[in-house]
Protein backbone atom coordinates (compact mmCIF):
# COMPACT_ATOMS: atom_id res chain seq x y z
CA UNK A 1 0.00 0.00 0.00
CA UNK A 2 1.22 3.49 -0.69
CA UNK A 3 -0.16 6.89 0.22
CA UNK A 4 0.25 9.71 -2.26
CA UNK A 5 0.17 13.16 -0.81
CA UNK A 6 -0.85 15.58 -3.52
CA UNK A 7 -1.03 19.34 -3.13
CA UNK A 8 -4.39 19.19 -1.39
CA UNK A 9 -5.56 15.59 -1.42
CA UNK A 10 -4.29 12.26 -0.15
CA UNK A 11 -4.97 8.92 -1.79
CA UNK A 12 -4.18 5.35 -0.83
CA UNK A 13 -3.28 2.81 -3.52
CA UNK A 14 -3.51 -0.94 -3.04
CA UNK A 15 -3.27 -2.88 -6.27
CA UNK A 16 -6.11 -1.82 -8.53
CA UNK A 17 -7.85 -0.03 -5.65
CA UNK A 18 -7.42 3.71 -5.19
CA UNK A 19 -9.30 5.46 -2.42
CA UNK A 20 -9.11 8.91 -0.93
CA UNK A 21 -8.10 9.22 2.70
CA UNK A 22 -11.33 11.13 3.33
CA UNK A 23 -13.45 8.27 1.97
CA UNK A 24 -11.34 5.73 3.85
CA UNK A 25 -11.95 7.59 7.10
CA UNK A 26 -15.70 7.67 6.46
CA UNK A 27 -15.83 3.94 5.73
CA UNK A 28 -13.61 3.09 8.72
CA UNK A 29 -15.79 5.22 11.01
CA UNK A 30 -18.90 3.49 9.72
CA UNK A 31 -17.45 0.07 10.50
CA UNK A 32 -16.39 1.20 13.97
CA UNK A 33 -19.83 2.68 14.66
CA UNK A 34 -21.53 -0.49 13.39
CA UNK A 35 -19.44 -2.71 15.64
CA UNK A 36 -19.96 -0.42 18.62
CA UNK A 37 -23.70 -0.41 17.98
CA UNK A 38 -23.69 -4.18 18.18
CA UNK A 39 -21.54 -4.56 21.29
CA UNK A 40 -22.34 -1.58 23.49
CA UNK A 41 -25.09 -2.25 26.04
CA UNK A 42 -28.35 -0.40 25.42
CA UNK A 43 -30.01 1.29 28.41
CA UNK A 44 -33.35 -0.33 29.10
CA UNK A 45 -36.08 -0.58 31.66
CA UNK A 46 -36.43 -3.76 33.74
CA UNK A 47 -40.18 -3.28 33.63
CA UNK A 48 -41.04 -6.13 31.29
CA UNK A 49 -44.65 -7.12 30.97
CA UNK A 50 -46.23 -9.97 29.11
CA UNK A 51 -47.99 -8.95 25.93
CA UNK A 52 -51.41 -9.99 27.17
CA UNK A 53 -52.67 -6.66 28.48
CA UNK A 54 -51.25 -4.42 25.80
CA UNK A 55 -51.26 -4.09 22.09
CA UNK A 56 -49.09 -1.05 22.21
CA UNK A 57 -46.28 -1.88 19.77
Amino acid sequence: MSAHQGLATAYVHAGVVQISVANLIVIALMLVVFILALVLPFPHSRDVEAEDDHDQH
Partner: protein, 234 residues
Protein backbone atom coordinates in the same frame (compact mmCIF):
# COMPACT_ATOMS: atom_id res chain seq x y z
CA UNK B 1 -80.54 -1.84 1.39
CA UNK B 2 -79.40 -1.96 5.04
CA UNK B 3 -77.34 0.83 6.64
CA UNK B 4 -74.34 -1.57 6.59
CA UNK B 5 -74.76 -2.06 2.86
CA UNK B 6 -74.97 1.69 2.40
CA UNK B 7 -71.72 2.12 4.36
CA UNK B 8 -70.06 -0.58 2.27
CA UNK B 9 -70.90 1.34 -0.86
CA UNK B 10 -69.72 4.61 0.64
CA UNK B 11 -66.25 5.34 -0.76
CA UNK B 12 -65.44 7.76 2.02
CA UNK B 13 -66.23 5.18 4.67
CA UNK B 14 -64.23 2.53 2.86
CA UNK B 15 -61.23 4.83 2.46
CA UNK B 16 -61.53 5.82 6.10
CA UNK B 17 -61.51 2.19 7.17
CA UNK B 18 -58.49 1.43 4.95
CA UNK B 19 -56.55 4.35 6.40
CA UNK B 20 -57.50 3.36 9.95
CA UNK B 21 -56.39 -0.20 9.36
CA UNK B 22 -53.10 0.72 7.66
CA UNK B 23 -51.66 1.05 11.12
CA UNK B 24 -54.20 -0.17 13.68
CA UNK B 25 -54.79 1.97 16.76
CA UNK B 26 -52.28 1.11 19.45
CA UNK B 27 -49.53 0.62 16.94
CA UNK B 28 -49.20 4.15 15.65
CA UNK B 29 -47.38 5.73 18.56
CA UNK B 30 -46.92 2.90 21.02
CA UNK B 31 -45.18 3.63 24.31
CA UNK B 32 -43.91 0.08 24.59
CA UNK B 33 -41.74 -2.11 22.38
CA UNK B 34 -40.94 -5.82 22.45
CA UNK B 35 -38.33 -6.53 25.10
CA UNK B 36 -35.92 -7.76 22.42
CA UNK B 37 -35.63 -4.20 21.05
CA UNK B 38 -32.59 -3.55 23.15
CA UNK B 39 -29.61 -2.61 21.00
CA UNK B 40 -28.03 0.52 19.64
CA UNK B 41 -28.41 -0.89 16.14
CA UNK B 42 -32.07 0.05 16.33
CA UNK B 43 -31.41 3.79 16.43
CA UNK B 44 -30.04 4.04 12.91
CA UNK B 45 -33.44 4.01 11.22
CA UNK B 46 -34.61 7.04 13.18
CA UNK B 47 -31.16 8.63 12.76
CA UNK B 48 -31.58 8.27 9.00
CA UNK B 49 -34.97 9.97 9.24
CA UNK B 50 -33.48 12.78 11.31
CA UNK B 51 -30.71 13.28 8.76
CA UNK B 52 -33.30 13.34 5.99
CA UNK B 53 -35.10 16.16 7.81
CA UNK B 54 -31.94 18.24 7.73
CA UNK B 55 -31.35 17.39 4.07
CA UNK B 56 -34.84 18.64 3.23
CA UNK B 57 -34.62 21.70 5.45
CA UNK B 58 -31.24 22.79 4.11
CA UNK B 59 -32.43 22.13 0.57
CA UNK B 60 -35.48 24.28 1.26
CA UNK B 61 -33.21 27.05 2.52
CA UNK B 62 -30.93 26.78 -0.52
CA UNK B 63 -33.96 27.13 -2.77
CA UNK B 64 -34.63 30.54 -1.26
CA UNK B 65 -31.46 31.94 -2.81
CA UNK B 66 -31.44 29.90 -6.00
CA UNK B 67 -28.93 27.66 -7.71
CA UNK B 68 -25.93 30.01 -7.85
CA UNK B 69 -26.52 31.89 -4.60
CA UNK B 70 -24.14 29.76 -2.60
CA UNK B 71 -21.17 30.67 -4.79
CA UNK B 72 -21.25 34.30 -3.68
CA UNK B 73 -22.95 34.27 -0.27
CA UNK B 74 -21.31 33.08 2.96
CA UNK B 75 -24.73 32.15 4.37
CA UNK B 76 -25.54 30.31 1.16
CA UNK B 77 -22.23 28.47 1.28
CA UNK B 78 -22.84 27.45 4.89
CA UNK B 79 -26.28 26.12 3.98
CA UNK B 80 -24.67 24.20 1.14
CA UNK B 81 -22.26 22.71 3.66
CA UNK B 82 -25.17 21.74 5.91
CA UNK B 83 -26.82 20.13 2.90
CA UNK B 84 -23.64 18.21 2.00
CA UNK B 85 -22.94 16.93 5.52
CA UNK B 86 -26.56 16.04 6.26
CA UNK B 87 -26.52 14.00 3.05
CA UNK B 88 -23.29 12.28 4.13
CA UNK B 89 -24.83 11.49 7.55
CA UNK B 90 -28.02 10.33 5.81
CA UNK B 91 -26.09 7.80 3.73
CA UNK B 92 -23.89 6.75 6.67
CA UNK B 93 -26.90 6.10 8.94
CA UNK B 94 -28.92 4.46 6.17
CA UNK B 95 -26.07 2.10 5.30
CA UNK B 96 -25.50 1.09 8.93
CA UNK B 97 -29.28 0.64 9.23
CA UNK B 98 -29.11 -1.60 6.14
CA UNK B 99 -26.21 -3.65 7.53
CA UNK B 100 -28.13 -4.14 10.77
CA UNK B 101 -31.37 -5.10 9.05
CA UNK B 102 -29.58 -7.60 6.85
CA UNK B 103 -27.80 -9.11 9.86
CA UNK B 104 -31.20 -9.49 11.53
CA UNK B 105 -32.89 -10.84 8.39
CA UNK B 106 -35.50 -8.22 9.08
CA UNK B 107 -37.64 -9.24 6.09
CA UNK B 108 -38.98 -12.26 8.03
CA UNK B 109 -42.54 -12.51 9.24
CA UNK B 110 -44.19 -10.95 6.21
CA UNK B 111 -41.85 -7.97 6.14
CA UNK B 112 -40.58 -8.41 2.58
CA UNK B 113 -42.28 -5.18 1.50
CA UNK B 114 -40.56 -3.31 4.31
CA UNK B 115 -37.22 -4.51 2.95
CA UNK B 116 -38.20 -3.73 -0.63
CA UNK B 117 -39.39 -0.18 0.10
CA UNK B 118 -36.18 0.43 2.03
CA UNK B 119 -33.96 -0.98 -0.71
CA UNK B 120 -35.72 1.00 -3.44
CA UNK B 121 -35.48 4.13 -1.28
CA UNK B 122 -31.74 3.49 -0.94
CA UNK B 123 -31.31 3.27 -4.69
CA UNK B 124 -33.61 6.25 -5.19
CA UNK B 125 -31.52 8.25 -2.72
CA UNK B 126 -28.44 7.61 -4.83
CA UNK B 127 -30.29 8.91 -7.86
CA UNK B 128 -31.47 11.96 -5.94
CA UNK B 129 -27.95 12.69 -4.73
CA UNK B 130 -26.72 12.28 -8.31
CA UNK B 131 -29.07 14.96 -9.63
CA UNK B 132 -27.95 17.11 -6.72
CA UNK B 133 -24.35 16.85 -7.83
CA UNK B 134 -25.48 17.93 -11.28
CA UNK B 135 -27.17 21.00 -9.81
CA UNK B 136 -24.14 22.49 -8.08
CA UNK B 137 -23.42 24.82 -11.05
CA UNK B 138 -19.67 24.38 -10.61
CA UNK B 139 -16.83 22.24 -11.97
CA UNK B 140 -18.20 19.13 -10.28
CA UNK B 141 -21.43 19.46 -12.24
CA UNK B 142 -19.52 19.92 -15.50
CA UNK B 143 -17.38 16.83 -14.93
CA UNK B 144 -20.03 14.54 -13.46
CA UNK B 145 -22.55 15.36 -16.19
CA UNK B 146 -20.12 14.82 -19.06
CA UNK B 147 -19.02 11.49 -17.59
CA UNK B 148 -22.37 10.15 -16.41
CA UNK B 149 -23.95 10.82 -19.79
CA UNK B 150 -21.97 7.91 -21.26
CA UNK B 151 -23.44 5.33 -18.91
CA UNK B 152 -26.97 6.62 -19.38
CA UNK B 153 -26.66 7.06 -23.15
CA UNK B 154 -25.26 3.54 -23.51
CA UNK B 155 -28.57 2.08 -22.32
CA UNK B 156 -30.82 4.59 -24.03
CA UNK B 157 -31.86 6.47 -20.90
CA UNK B 158 -29.80 9.53 -21.77
CA UNK B 159 -32.00 10.27 -24.75
CA UNK B 160 -34.76 11.28 -22.34
CA UNK B 161 -32.96 12.00 -19.08
CA UNK B 162 -30.41 14.58 -20.20
CA UNK B 163 -27.76 15.09 -17.54
CA UNK B 164 -26.29 17.93 -19.60
CA UNK B 165 -29.49 19.93 -19.06
CA UNK B 166 -29.20 21.57 -15.62
CA UNK B 167 -32.75 22.89 -15.86
CA UNK B 168 -34.13 19.38 -16.18
CA UNK B 169 -31.78 17.90 -13.60
CA UNK B 170 -32.57 20.54 -11.00
CA UNK B 171 -36.30 19.87 -11.23
CA UNK B 172 -35.75 16.13 -10.96
CA UNK B 173 -33.63 16.83 -7.88
CA UNK B 174 -36.02 19.12 -6.03
CA UNK B 175 -39.45 17.93 -7.24
CA UNK B 176 -39.70 14.51 -8.85
CA UNK B 177 -37.21 12.35 -7.01
CA UNK B 178 -37.82 13.72 -3.47
CA UNK B 179 -41.56 13.21 -3.97
CA UNK B 180 -41.10 9.56 -4.91
CA UNK B 181 -38.57 9.11 -2.13
CA UNK B 182 -40.97 10.73 0.34
CA UNK B 183 -43.72 8.29 -0.58
CA UNK B 184 -41.33 5.34 -0.19
CA UNK B 185 -40.12 6.55 3.22
CA UNK B 186 -43.69 7.05 4.46
CA UNK B 187 -44.69 3.57 3.25
CA UNK B 188 -41.58 2.10 4.85
CA UNK B 189 -42.32 3.68 8.26
CA UNK B 190 -46.01 2.69 8.08
CA UNK B 191 -45.00 -0.90 7.41
CA UNK B 192 -42.59 -0.91 10.35
CA UNK B 193 -45.26 0.40 12.69
CA UNK B 194 -47.90 -1.97 11.35
CA UNK B 195 -45.87 -5.15 11.57
CA UNK B 196 -43.84 -4.28 14.62
CA UNK B 197 -40.12 -4.88 14.97
CA UNK B 198 -39.09 -8.30 13.69
CA UNK B 199 -38.55 -10.92 16.42
CA UNK B 200 -35.14 -12.49 16.87
CA UNK B 201 -34.24 -15.39 14.60
CA UNK B 202 -35.70 -18.62 16.01
CA UNK B 203 -37.36 -16.80 18.90
CA UNK B 204 -40.66 -18.06 20.26
CA UNK B 205 -43.00 -15.97 22.36
CA UNK B 206 -43.38 -17.22 25.95
CA UNK B 207 -46.29 -19.66 26.45
CA UNK B 208 -49.44 -17.77 27.48
CA UNK B 209 -50.42 -18.05 31.18
CA UNK B 210 -54.06 -18.28 32.17
CA UNK B 211 -55.53 -14.85 31.41
CA UNK B 212 -56.43 -12.64 34.39
CA UNK B 213 -59.77 -11.88 32.79
CA UNK B 214 -61.79 -13.78 30.23
CA UNK B 215 -60.72 -13.30 26.62
CA UNK B 216 -64.29 -12.36 25.63
CA UNK B 217 -64.23 -9.23 27.80
CA UNK B 218 -61.18 -7.83 26.04
CA UNK B 219 -61.53 -5.49 23.08
CA UNK B 220 -60.84 -7.35 19.86
CA UNK B 221 -57.69 -5.97 18.27
CA UNK B 222 -56.89 -7.47 14.87
CA UNK B 223 -53.21 -8.36 14.31
CA UNK B 224 -53.57 -7.37 10.65
CA UNK B 225 -56.43 -5.43 9.16
CA UNK B 226 -57.56 -8.15 6.77
CA UNK B 227 -57.80 -10.83 9.42
CA UNK B 228 -60.39 -11.55 12.06
CA UNK B 229 -59.45 -10.62 15.65
CA UNK B 230 -58.90 -14.17 16.85
CA UNK B 231 -56.61 -15.33 14.04
CA UNK B 232 -52.91 -15.43 14.98
CA UNK B 233 -50.22 -14.39 12.56
CA UNK B 234 -48.68 -17.61 11.20
Amino acid sequence: MTSTDRRKGNWTARLGRRLDNAVPPGRRLPDRQPAYVRSWIYVFGVATLAALLFVLASGFALAIGGTTWWHTSAVGHFLNSVHLWSVELFFVCMTIHLWGKFAMAAWRGGRALTWITGAVAFVGSIGTAFTGYLSQTNFDSQWISTQAKDGLNAVGIGAFFNVLNPGQMLLWHIVLLPSVLGVLVVLHVILVRRKGVVPPIDAEPPARELPSRPLESRPAVPSTPAETPTRRQP
